[in-house]
Every structure is written in C-alpha cells, then in structure tokens.
C-alpha cells in the first residue's frame, strides 16, 4: 500500500455564481502518474491552478503529504515539493537557458546577502554545485548545447523542455504538468511521453492535465475524468475508456459510441 501524496477533499470553486469545480474528491498516490481529462470547460485548469496555488478554492481542502496547503501561496507549495509547468510557458526569456535552470535551484541553495556580496569560497562552491546540477539536467534533456543562449531564442518545443527541466531543478516530490503535449508535433509528443514515464520510473509522482488521449492512455496509471466541474469517472485508462458517462461527455448523449 503506497502512501497518498496529494489529497483533494470536497473541493469547490465558484466564480461569480459559476461553479467551475464542485464537490471534488480524489487522491494521488506517491509514485503514480495520474491524468486529469475532460472536455473543454470541465474544470481541469481550475483544478490544476487550485493545486498549484494560483486560484484559491471556495471550499474544501488540499493536502500535500498530510499537510493542508490550500491556504499557502504558490512559492510555499513549491518549497514543500510541488513543482509545475505551464500550458502557456512562463520562461525567463531574458535570461540564458542555463540561468533558467540555475534559478530553479533557488530554494535548494542558501547563500544570503552578505555571502553573495563577499563572494567567498563557500559561495563559489555553492554556485559551482548549482551550475553543475543545472548542466547535468540540461544535458539529460538535450539542451546542453543551448546553455548559453538566451531562453527567448529557443523554439517552442525546446522551451517546453526547458520549463520541465527548470521544474525538475526544484527536486519536486510532485510534478504538475499542464498540457505537456500541447503544441508539440507528433514525434516531440512521443519524446515528452517517454521522458515523463522515465521520470516516473525514477520515482517521480506526476499529475497531468492533457488533451492528447494517446499520451494520457499510454502513460497514466490512473485517470480522473471531469465534466462540468464534477468527477464522472476515475480508474485505469481501460476502465475509463469504456465508461458510459465518459463516452457521453466526449461524444454526446445521443450518439452511439
């Protein structure tokens, strides 16, 4: 029996009378890949943003490793081990590719103002360790030869990879991926899928929101299906695929799937 890493209990989110997420309960076990799917407007992004800390829930609880995090600002959740990527990329474009990953080591390093100004041997050693970790990561994801380029000069696919690399530099315990395949060509999507399952084999817990069904079905241990802000199904890819409510939500009630 594996431990529950993320637990969502009775979660609600209302915007001016519109209910985006209603009465949602689910959990993510340590070591699994869980996908959240659903038609447009199902509440996937709202849910994702509530877990990451961008949107406050109207009611309910979010617990990470047993601790309530729903009242914490985003950076505090990141410090507890929740890292994320963005659907529309939030890259530091004026900084180099290497710096983008190095800044991901911020909370894993400790130098204060005085140390930074004095630039002593301890600081230099820490800086070298930060750079070494960042370069190892860039190398692993095929961006090492771009290390000194400005991030703004990278292609969309490379930026997606860079954002994932930056999130991993945080050494998260839970990786939130917001549509990791969106905008990627076929081959790059497959590569992204391989990377995610590779990370998972090394022990990373992943929660992802994704439209690409092929990716979701091949990667996920567990799939949560939302429609109109409510859970309509949860289970393995095969179970969910055959679930009548899921078919109805995706293909329409009247049609015969």
């Amino acid at each position: 029996m594996t431990a529950t890493l993320l637990q969502v209990e009775d979660l609600f989110c209302h915007f001016d009378g519109v209910t985006a997420v209603a009465d949602l309960c689910f959990s993510v076990r340590a070591g699994e890949i869980k996908a959240v799917i659903g038609p447009n407007g199902a509440g996937k992004s709202t849910l994702f943003n509530m877990i990451a800390g961008v949107i406050r829930p109207s009611a309910g609880q979010i617990k990470f490793d047993g601790e309530r995090i729903d009242h914490l600002p985003t950076f505090q959740r990141a410090r507890r081990g929740v890292a994320r990527t963005f659907q529309n990329l939030q890259i530091f474009r004026d900084m180099s590719v290497l710096e983008n990953v190095m800044v991901g080591r911020h909370m894993r390093s400790a130098a204060g103002v005085a140390q930074a100004i004095m630039h002593g041997p301890a600081l230099c050693a820490e800086e070298r360790a930060i750079a070494a970790t960042a370069i190892d990561l860039l190398d692993r994801f095929g961006l090492a030869d771009k290390a000194q380029s400005k991030a703004g000069t990278l292609s969309f696919g490379q930026l997606k990879m860079l954002e994932l690399t930056r999130a991993l530099a945080c050494e998260p315990r839970l990786l939130l991926l917001d549509e990791p395949a969106a905008g990627l060509p076929h081959a790059a999507t497959d590569r992204m899928g391989e990377i995610i399952s590779g990370l998972n084999r090394d022990g990373m817990t992943v929660l992802l929101v994704e439209h690409n069904m092929r990716m979701v079905m091949s990667l996920s241990h567990d799939v949560l299906v939302l429609n109109n802000g409510r859970r309509i199904a949860e289970g393995t890819a095969d179970e969910v695929r055959r679930h009548p409510e899921v078919l109805a939500a995706y293909l329409g009630e009247a049609e015969d799937a």
């Binding site: 340590a30 961008v54 985003t74 950076f75 990141a78 410090r79 081990g81 890292a83 994320r84 963005f86 939030q90 890259i91 530091f92 474009r93 004026d94 900084m95 290497l98 710096e99 190095m102 800044v103 080591r105 911020h106 909370m107 894993r108 390093s109 400790a110 130098a111 204060g112 103002v113 140390q115 930074a116 100004i117 630039h119 600081l123 050693a125 820490e126 800086e127 070298r128 360790a129 930060i130 750079a131 070494a132 970790t133 370069i135 190892d136 990561l137 190398d139 000194q148 000069t153 990278l154 292609s155 999130a167 991993l168 530099a169 945080c170 050494e171 315990r173 090394d202 022990g203 990373m204």
Partner: protein, 349 residues
Amino acid sequence: MTSTPLTSETNLQQKLVPKILEAEGPSRSKFAARRPSNHLWLILTWLVLLVVPFVASNAYVISLANMALINLILIASLNLLMGFGGQISLGHAGFFGLGAYASGILNVKLGLTAWLGLPAAALIAATAALVIGLPALRLRGHYLSMATLGWNAILVVLFNQLVDLTGGPNGLLGVQSFSVAGIRLDTELRAFPLVWLASLLVMLAILNLLGSRLGRALRAVATNELGADAIGIDSFRTKLLFFVISAGMAGIAGSLYVHVNQYASPETFGISGSILLIVMVAIGGSGTYWGPLLGALIYTAVPQLLLDYEDAELMLFGLGMLFVLIVFPGGLASVPAAVMGRFEPKERL
C-alpha cells in the same frame, strides 16, 4: 569529472527526493570559464580611473570626477532595482538626501565622525526603504512608484522646514570631511581616493549580487513573477530585499556627498533629481551592468558642457536625452552590440 552530490548545496528534503538529479554529467569546464570577465573589466576600469588626479589640469576636473563617481553609486543602485528588478522608485534622490542629512547632522550636531556617519546613513536609508516597501511592495502594480514619489516630496519639505536640524533652505553648513590618520580629506584631490574606493566597492557588490542566486531570483521575478512563484521564489521578499539594498547604497552616496562637499542643501534631493536618475539609468542602458557608468558620465559632464547656453541648458539636455532614447532604446550600453549586429549574421532560431 563526476557530478557533485547535491548534499553540498543543502540537506533539505533528502528523504523522498527521487534520484533524478544524479545522472552523470558532461564536461563543465567550458561553462565555468566564463565568469571572471566582468570582475576583470571592473578592476581594469578602476585602475584607469586612478590616473584622473594625475592628468587632471585642475581641482575643478577632479571635483567633477568625484561627483561622477558618487552619481555612479546612485545610478548603479537605482539600475539594480529598476533595470534588473523591474521596480521603479521615484524617490532615489530622497534616499540620497536622507543619507546626506543623516550623516551630516550626526556630524554637525553630535560630533559623530564621518566614518560612523557613513554606515549610519546606509542603515537609516535602508530602514526607511524597509518601512515604505513593506506595504507598497505587497501590492502589484505601480504602488512603489507612488509611495516613493510621496516619500521624496515629504523629505524635501522636512529638509526645508526642520531648520534647527537641517539649516533649512540655506543648507547644512559646517560638515566635516572624512579624515585618515589625522589627515583631513578636505580637498578634491584628497577626497578622490575615498570616492574611488567606495564606488569600486559598490560596483563590486552589485556585480556579485547579480551573479548570485539572489540576483537570479531578482531577474526572474522581474521578467516573470508567475514563473518565479512556481519555483519557490518569494517575489515580495526578493523585491523588498533589493529595494532596501538599493536605498542603502543611495544612503552611502549621500554620506560621501555631504562629507566631500562639506555641505548639503534641499534642492539637490528633490523629485526632479529622482526623475533625472531614472532617465540616466535608461540612457546608460537599463538592466545592463555597465550602463550606469555611461549614465553617470553624461549626468555629470553634459550639464557642465552646456553651461554656456544658460537658459537653453535644460532644453538641450532634454532634447539630447530624447534623441538617445529614440535612436538607442536600449541605452548607450547597447550601442556596441547594435553596431556589431549590422555586420554579423543573425543567429538562426
């Protein structure tokens, strides 16, 4: 080369962290070799500046050099906050004045030496920034600009009205100079080494800060706060920290100013001064390390060159600034790159 174990950075959260970061790395020497160049340039530039007193024809030129280096501290510290941190302070001249009056008054009224006045000025200016920044930086948007604008206006009133302390509109008189081993640094020539050293140390501090995790965090917050939040950076504290550091440096500049000139008067520290400092950051090259050097040079030299034109001086100054910013929006520090860019093939995306 083997990969450095993570434990050297921090021992936080080792228990459940997946072993994703322990992959064998490529050679890193080519990346590590790039660092010291800015340090080297800084030392070389300041060594060159050392010749100023020897080649300067008279005390007037040295006094301009002193002023330029004090202005450099102001412009570089504002650039740290504004150019790299994206936070606009409209009260930088106010912090400059607070440092000057704090150090000057402590000297004139309490007999405190300039050597104690200098850190006191830095501390007082930094504390004031902390008090302003705590509420103003919690809100996103232009609240810091508005708060610092009001702050500067209040300070000018205080400098003028607290006549018993500040000497009012007539200025603060009788401020003693720095002294080293019984020698008063009361001439332009004697003050130069002190100003030279202080400006070097401030420039060095800024360079080191920018190259550290704190500098990276600052630039991250400035370019993309959402992205910075997501990797565990406290945007509010980062902005506050650099606002306080920037104001502290302006306080140092103020203390140098008041003890080198042995005088301070309110009009030096007004809002127009704050605005001119912002313009100089932009003209030199906002968010570039070397830009403030050019900004300080122009801020100090151009008004002197335009003295002959009397009433037209300010207008010519303004037109010149407009010209530079229209032709080189990245500031003067971007000119070499812009010129080189014409001859070099563009990098493919």
